[in-house]
């Protein structure tokens, strides 16, 4: 009996911690509708060619709920690749996954050299401003420039910015600090979205952005979905 009591006493702090964590991360609030970012695929447009195989290859590592990847081009060949990923009813880690991959990390892995980090681009939409991180790459042995524009939208954090946001830490590698920060801020959004585009062979970032913006502007939608409340609508404190 004494032994059982001792075991329970040992387990009690763990149980208390778990319950406290659950209560902290799931505060009771009334349900609210939520406007969620959507980039619809223009299926009628022949210049957009969906790359289902490529999406199938990347989905397992991104753990995203759904999405698509498409080449956009003309009869002269593809001039851009646009990707859209959705994370729904996800946990914090998966949302952080979207944040912590800076373009230079994944592009570097496929032999591209970071040439420039341009100022963040802003896109005015009916649902608010979207922030696009803008980077310029080139193959290691020279060749056509590739401009990458990446927007991470997180439900409840409308102003989140991939590069400047506090979530990133200093270099995006401080995962432990990142997780603690996320817990402290009750960061557990229900919806996360990424719009990412690579524009090939444009001579300047301005023209590449113009091209990319033209491609996606007409496809951006805001969809109202019933949702649990965003646990915290304030910005992270650091």
């Amino acid at each position: 009996m004494k032994r059982i009591l001792l075991t329970v006493l040992w387990m009690l702090p763990v149980l208390i911690a778990e319950v406290a964590a659950h209560l902290w991360m799931n505060p009771a609030s009334p349900a609210e509708a939520e406007s969620v970012l959507e980039l619809s695929f223009p299926s009628g447009d022949k210049s957009w060619i969906q790359q289902s195989e490529v999406y199938g290859d990347v989905q397992p590592s991104l753990h995203c709920s759904s999405g698509w990847i498409s080449d956009v081009g003309t009869e002269d060949g593809p001039e851009a690749r646009v990707s859209f990923f959705r994370w729904d009813s996800t946990d914090t880690v998966n949302t952080l996954e979207a944040f912590k991959h800076l373009p230079e990390q994944c592009m570097g892995a496929i032999g591209m050299r970071l040439e420039n980090i341009h100022p963040t681009r802003e896109l005015e939409t009916s649902g608010g401003l979207l922030y696009f991180d803008s980077t310029q790459f080139r193959p290691q042995d020279g060749g056509r420039a590739v401009h990458i524009f990446k927007c991470v939208w997180v439900g409840g954090f409308p102003d989140s910015n991939l590069r400047d946001d506090a979530l990133m830490g200093k270099d995006g590698q401080e995962l432990r600090q990142l997780r603690l920060a996320a817990a402290a801020a009750r960061f557990r959004p229900r919806h996360t979205r990424i719009i990412m585009g690579g524009v090939f062979g444009m001579p300047t970032e301005e023209l590449a952005w113009k091209r990319f913006e033209k491609m996606i502007r007409g496809q951006i939608r805001w969809i109202d979905v019933p949702s649990e409340p965003i646990r915290s609508s304030r910005q992270l404190p650091f």
Binding site: T74, D76, G77, E79, G142, G143, R144, A145, V146, F200, G201, M202, P203, T204, L207, K210, R211, K214
Partner: protein
């Protein structure tokens, strides 16, 4: 106690570890001082040893070994000169494209011996991109420019590249009287021009030369091989020296050439003369007789000279068989022969002929397959000249698509006897018209490497590099501004520089470059018009700009041009 004793005491009293370290330090220092000179002595000895071995390997025909040993010497001392002549000979023997660069290095080095200089020059003229000898030529000393050893290889190369006026200009710069060889080159140029005026001038010049240098008639007469029998006149026969007509010690080729002249002088006796030629040479010289029959346009007679039952194993004889069958129009047999070529005949050579036969028989599938295989075979060939030869052959046979592909591949690979870019400007134009931008960029990149100093290529390459995101507009401005100042009248340079300024946000500079009222924009290319229109639009002269884009032929632009100009226009007009 004297200082020596003090030092000794100090040494004895020092801890053994410190003493050991001190001894090691002195030893290492000593070795370091001695090692430098020893290393260089060893290297020198090794280099001389390798040089001797390389020379022996070259003399014994072990070209791989000679080449590798020469490289070893150069790796030890990159300024070494002695291995270069060995390297040149071994790379030429191995058909290594590197031979071109070594030949150029030898031609530019004052230490090169005369025979090496001549070998390098001859090789460069025969097998290198002709831009190189053409640019080295003005730098050669005068005595070499007038030496037939140096002059003739260049003229011959220019004739192959169909640069006839430029070749004639080199001859014209020679002091008179011209040598027989120079006269022969001029005559061949006239024959290749193949116009009535050129043929008339050919006859006048040949007759004059036959009279001026009668002893040289055998060499002079060789040039009639270049013109068809129908164009030969009686003048040549009449001008032949007396020694030529009854000569008994004539070579069969010369005797047959004289018969050609006689036939031209007495066409009514043609059959009789042919019969006499057959009587005399059918048994003893069937190959020469068959070639002669082809020259006089009698392929059926040529077919009687050599066996046409089976494809010959000798490549020369096989090619003659093919020529006869082609001239005789025996397509079926020709196709069978082409399928059984000797191994020495490269397959692209037979495939291109097969493609021509298939096209004439309207067999498009076979033609397409043969064209594809011919190109593949030339690309995979170990002979660096294969693609250039294929391109010329395809051009002669009016297989335009194959010619374009072969030239494109040859230029992009930068190997073989490439003509200068202005001689094959049609390749650049065709690729532009067909909007094959990646290939266009590849050949411009290659030409920029081959034709260092060619400002047209430099400007075109930078323009396309900039528009396709391969070069920063700033880099284009930095490279082209001095060139534009040197050639201010060149509209193309102004426009390229202007678009680079537009892309850098320097609109005023772009306007300054394109605002010359003397430029007739309606006469310029669509791309140039677009650039001017863009500058006007960016300087708020919208109405004027709109006129430039009215019914604008966007589809005539290269994909990059179209993409960039449309993006720039978007939202402005």
């Amino acid at each position: 106690m004297n200082p020596l004793h003090r030092i000794h005491d100090a040494w004895v009293n020092t801890h053994p570890l410190w003493r050991l370290l001190a001894v090691l330090l002195v030893l290492v220092g000593g070795l370091f001082v001695v090692f430098g000179p020893v290393k260089s002595i060893y290297r020198g000895w090794k280099s001389s040893d390798n040089l001797i071995s390389a020379k022996e390997a070259l003399a014994a025909g072990r070209f791989f070994e000679a080449r590798n040993l020469s490289f070893q010497i150069l790796r030890q001392n990159e300024n070494a000169f002695e291995p270069l002549p060995i390297l040149l000979r071994s790379t030429i023997a191995l058909k290594d494209p590197l031979a071109v660069r070594i030949a150029v290095a030898l031609l530019k080095d004052d230490r090169t011996l005369p025979n090496d200089h001549l070998l390098a020059w001859t090789y460069l003229c025969q097998s290198g991109p002709s831009y190189l000898p053409l640019n080295i030529w003005p730098l050669l000393p005068e005595e070499k420019k007038y030496s037939p050893d140096f002059q003739l290889p260049l003229i011959d190369r220019m004739m192959v590249d169909r640069m006839l006026p430029a070749a004639a200009a080199i001859i014209a710069a020679s002091p008179e009287p011209y040598s027989v060889e120079l006269h022969c080159r001029l005559l061949v140029m006239l024959a290749k021009t193949a116009t009535d005026e050129a043929y008339a001038e050919f006859h006048r010049s040949l007759v004059t030369q036959l009279r001026a240098t009668p002893d040289a008639w055998p060499r002079l007469l060789e040039v009639i091989d270049e013109i068809p029998q129908s164009e030969l006149t009686s003048d040549i026969h009449n001008a032949l020296p007396e020694s030529a007509i009854p000569a008994t010690s004539l070579t069969p080729e010369n005797a047959l050439r004289i018969i050609r002249c006689e036939m031209a002088a007495h066409p009514e006796k043609s059959d009789e003369l042919i019969q006499s030629a057959f009587k005399r040479y059918q048994t003893s010289e069937p190959i020469a007789l068959a070639r002669w029959c082809l020259q006089i346009g009698r392929p059926d007679e040529a077919a009687k000279c050599i066996d046409l039952e089976e494809p010959a194993e000798d490549p020369g004889l096989y090619r003659l068989q093919i020529e006869i069958l082609e001239a005789a129009g025996e397509s079926e047999k020709l196709a069978t022969f082409l399928a059984s070529a000797p191994v020495e005949v490269p397959s692209w050579e037979t495939l291109v002929q097969l493609a021509a036969i298939a096209l004439s028989a309207d067999d498009k599938d076979l033609a397409a397959k043969s064209i594809k295989d011919a190109l593949k075979s030339a690309i995979e060939s170990a002979d660096p000249a294969a693609l250039v030869h294929l391109a010329r052959e395809a051009q002669d046979r009016q297989l335009d698509d194959l010619a374009l592909d072969a030239w494109t591949n040859a230029i992009a690979r930068a190997t073989g006897p490439l003509p200068p870019s202005q001689s094959i400007a049609f390749v650049i134009n065709e690729l532009s018209i067909k909007r094959r931008e990646d290939e266009l960029y590849a050949i411009l990149s290659s030409l920029r490497f081959i034709e260092v100093g060619n400002q047209v290529i430099l400007a075109q390459h930078l323009y396309l590099a900039c528009l396709s995101g391969r070069a920063e507009p700033r880099a284009v401005i930095e490279e082209l501004t001095p060139l534009q100042k040197q050639f201010p009248a060149k509209i193309a340079l102004r426009c390229i520089l202007a678009i680079a300024h537009v892309l850098s946000g320097e609109i005023q500079e772009a306007d300054d470059l394109t605002s010359d009222p003397g430029i007739d924009w309606s006469a310029t290319s669509p791309a140039h018009r677009a650039i001017r229109g863009l500058v006007l639009a960016k300087t708020n002269r919208t109405e004027e700009a709109q006129a430039y884009f009215e019914d604008f032929p966007w589809d005539e632009l290269l994909p990059s041009e179209k993409r960039v100009y449309q993006s720039l226009v978007d939202g402005v007009l």
